[in-house]
């Protein structure tokens, strides 16, 4: 017997199927199998953060003014009263103070960007350390790394648009980094900025269209291919039980998985809105408007660029020169060479690893990190290196808060950058081997116990 609601549902399915021929696909999709492990949710968290970013971002575009033109401030924030500021800065201050719920949406957008990149990075680490990037999923990996790169640029443009003091300092650094590119640096910087820093007024529409159109679409396209490839090759899973290289075990989308992932999406939105409402982020009215002649100390970028500011600070003071002419300005090392070599390493890793392992097999069962000591050790070493660069970016705050002299710290970090990665490599490698060893001992103990239990069992024949 079919009830009223079920009847409506059937009619709807029938209506769509007769027009779209979608029932076979839908039926399969509803039974799409999701293997269950908490670490598989990191990518989903990134996905849902992106949804929140788009939704809050659309709202912000309704009020933001991408213009560097001067205007006199007459809003409700007293300290800025009567000051000449840019339209961009004025509109972000207005979103914060005049637009009802504007500050909530703006802060949620900023938090969502930070969480988005956190989730991507953790997801990337999970995929790396479990070998999920191996054949047949190398393309999914590459597209993921490209999305991370796009997300970093997108985030940087986002906080640059506000035209507050911090964003201006960030743009000055970005300009210098572009200038530092060998051969084409100055030409490229002039092309992008339109004139020597701070550039032409059109820079604002340029950054804006990239931030709200070009890069989000790029992320959306990459995301679609990423997801399509996952569906085509299915999820990976940890081995054990009925799970094998050929057979996937998990919960079907309907009925068990869909509510879970909807729950996760709602939970992500919940955390982001709670952060946006309760935890202040980037209070641009405190930073003030940007002027070329102004700067502030203790300036920190958003967390995901912290490793770059750290790297820029750690490079000793030298330009590569021939005679009196500069070849490679200093900012190249921390601002271009470091990130590009890291991303090149990530993009080529599946093939680098194959050079050593000669492994061309298909893999659906994930590695446990301890079972691949070399990969785990190298990964940990690179993470320790980037993490050090990240931490050194806050050396000035440590100086102010803990009174450890800045120069002492920088020298310490320079030494650590050389010493820590090899140490991490060695320790991680040994740790993996020790874990393997302890498992073997445990297994032997269990086997011996079982055998002992058998032997000591009173034999019925005696």
């Amino acid at each position: 017997m079919v009830g009223g609601a079920a009847l409506v549902m059937r009619r709807a399915v029938r209506f769509v199927d007769q027009r779209a021929g979608s029932a076979p696909l839908l039926r399969k999709a509803l039974r799409y199998v999701f293997p269950d492990h908490w670490s598989f949710l990191l990518g989903e968290i990134a996905l849902y953060s992106f949804v929140v970013l788009v939704a809050t971002g659309v709202y912000l575009t309704l009020f933001f003014e991408p213009s560097i033109k001067d205007t006199v401030y007459h809003g409700s924030y007293e300290p800025l009263q009567g000051r000449t500021i840019s339209e961009a800065y004025r509109s972000v201050v207005d979103i914060s103070f005049e637009v009802k719920a504007g500050l909530l949406i703006r802060q949620t957008h900023h938090w969502a960007a930070d969480v988005f990149v956190v989730a991507i990075v953790l997801h990337l680490l999970r995929v790396f350390f479990t070998g999920a990037f191996r054949k047949p999923r190398e393309l999914t990996w590459i597209i993921g790394v490209l999305m991370l790169m796009t997300a970093l640029l997108e985030g940087f443009l986002g906080y640059s648009l506000a035209d507050d003091l911090l964003s201006g300092m960030g743009l000055a650094i970005a300009y210098s980094v572009v200038m530092s590119l060998p051969l084409v640096g100055a030409n490229l910087a002039l092309l992008i900025w339109g004139a020597p820093f701070p550039g032409v007024p059109e820079l604002w529409p340029r950054m804006y269209v990239f931030h709200v159109l070009v890069l989000p679409i790029a992320i959306g396209v990459l995301l679609s291919i990423h997801l399509a490839l996952i569906v085509a090759r299915h999820h990976t899973q940890f081995g054990g039980g009925r799970r094998t290289e050929r057979r996937l075990v998990g919960l079907p989308l309907a009925p068990a998985y869909a509510p879970r992932t909807i729950g996760l999406a709602l939970a992500v939105a919940s955390v982001l809105f709670l952060l946006g409402g309760l935890v202040q982020i980037n209070p641009i009215w405190l930073w003030g408007p940007y002027e070329v002649s102004q700067a502030t100390n203790g300036a920190q970028p958003d967390w995901y660029l912290g490793w770059l500011i750290g790297a820029l600070r750690l490079v000793p003071g030298f330009d590569v020169v021939i005679g009196d002419y500069t070849l490679v300005p200093n900012a190249f090392w921390g601002g271009v060479a470091l990130p590009l070599s890291l991303f090149a390493l990530l993009l080529s890793w599946p093939w680098l690893e194959r050079l050593v392992t000669r492994d061309t097999a298909f893999h659906n069962i994930l590695d446990r990190p301890r079972d691949r000591p070399w990969r785990t050790a190298i990964g940990a070493a690179v993470v320790s290196w980037v993490f050090l660069a990240f931490v050194s970016g806050s050396a000035d705050r440590v100086d102010v808060l803990l009174h450890v002299p800045y120069r002492t710290q920088i020298w310490l970090y320079r030494v650590l950058l050389l010493a820590l990665p090899p140490a991490t490599l060695l320790v991680t490698w040994r740790f993996c081997l020790a874990l393997q060893q302890s498992e073997r001992v445990e297994a032997e103990k269990r086997a011996a116990k079982a055998a002992g239990a058998d032997a000591s069992a009173p034999s019925p024949t005696v």
Partner: protein, 345 residues
């Protein structure tokens, strides 16, 4: 009294809702996977829960409560939004909306883990590759070129055409900026005789400049917002000065002017020794707050520490007859961040 009655009525209604739901549930209890299950060769359905799924009344009630309280929170958001200018409005908005999402999330998760079948499914991974289809694709592509005799020439021509079209389509981008003319990078408003003014446009006088602090100066009658405009001006004891050769007379009365823009990454220099320069150093240094490049003002802004690769360009100063400061010539070198081919001095 009426409140109690109202509450009782609500309770009865809620109970009715719960009970009715239960009856409905029993009627349509579905052991029907056998009827509509997906038993394809690649897809296997595995019972891991109890086959006869008992209704879970407590879980249903929990979902109802979560949805109910969540709804209250969502409505609260609208109310807070409508009530203009509550104190801490942003916090209340975030709290109400965040809690609504949290409660709905909890409802979805309780629903997904306790109210629907938890049976696992097994599915075979698809075939690793499709050799027949690969061959088919290759065949189709080969077939395309069957009748062509001058294959390499055609390929060359097509490649050339695509390249030319690509370049043509990229050409409009050149309008963005003076891509081939980097001369603008070397131009600044400073030339001999240009007066130094402060932020408000008042002329800076030699008497105004004291030892132990720094001043930001701008070119009189020119934009303050160009990278070549701002100066950092300090006064040192003339005896302390040890400027590079050829800069005799650039620092009248020990007053020095340097470009305020760091040669490393373009930030404005805004620290004069403290707190990020060793207090034990012989004298104050100019420090950039972005990456802490540290320059010695007494020795032509020589780099003492940090990533900068070249000194800050110095501007020669003169004191006019009225005591006002003015430029004695152009900068000693290119201002701002370095680039490929820029002269270091």
């Amino acid at each position: 009294m009426s409140v109690l009655r109202f509450l009782r009525r609500v309770l009865v209604l809620a109970l009715l809702l719960v009970l009715r739901r239960r009856r409905g549930r029993r009627q349509s209890a579905i052991p029907s996977e056998t009827l509509v299950g997906l038993h394809t060769p690649t897809h296997v359905y595995v019972y891991t829960g109890t086959p006869a799924r008992e209704p879970d009344l407590r879980a249903e009630l929990l979902v109802l409560v979560l949805l109910g309280v969540g709804t209250v929170c969502a409505v609260a958001f609208v109310v807070v939004h409508a009530l203009d200018r509550l104190p801490r409005q942003t916090q209340l908005l975030g709290l109400s909306l965040g809690l609504a999402f949290a409660l709905f999330a909890a409802a979805a998760i309780v629903f997904g883990t306790r109210l629907v079948a938890q049976d696992e499914h097994e599915e075979n991974y698809g075939p690793e590759e499709h050799e027949q289809d690969q061959a088919g694709v290759a065949h189709i592509l080969d077939e395309t070129g069957d009748r062509i005799t001058r294959k390499r020439l055609l390929k060359l021509a097509a490649g050339g055409a695509a390249g030319a079209l690509g370049v043509a389509l990229l050409t409009p981008a050149v309008s963005l900026g003076p891509v081939l003319d980097v001369g603008a990078l070397s131009r600044t408003p400073w030339r001999r005789g240009r007066g130094l003014v402060d932020r408000a446009g008042r002329p800076l006088r030699a008497d105004d400049i004291e030892i132990g602090t720094f001043y930001t100066a701008f070119p009189a009658g020119a934009s303050h917002d160009e990278i070549g405009s701002p100066l950092i001006v300090v006064r040192l004891e003339p005896a302390e000065l040890d400027l590079p050769p050829g800069r005799k007379g650039w620092a009248p009365e020990g007053i020095l002017a340097y470009s305020k823009i760091c040669t490393h990454a373009g930030c404005a220099i805004n620290l004069y020794r403290t707190p990020l320069f060793e207090p034990t150093a012989p004298r104050a240094a100019l420090v950039c707050p972005c990456h802490y490049s540290t320059f010695d003002p007494a020795r032509g802004a020589k780099v003492l520490f940090g990533p900068a690769g070249r000194p800050l360009p110095q501007l020669p100063l003169e004191i006019a007859s009225g005591g006002a400061l003015r430029a004695g010539g152009p900068f000693s070198g290119r201002i701002g961040p370095a680039w490929w081919g820029v002269r270091r001095s």
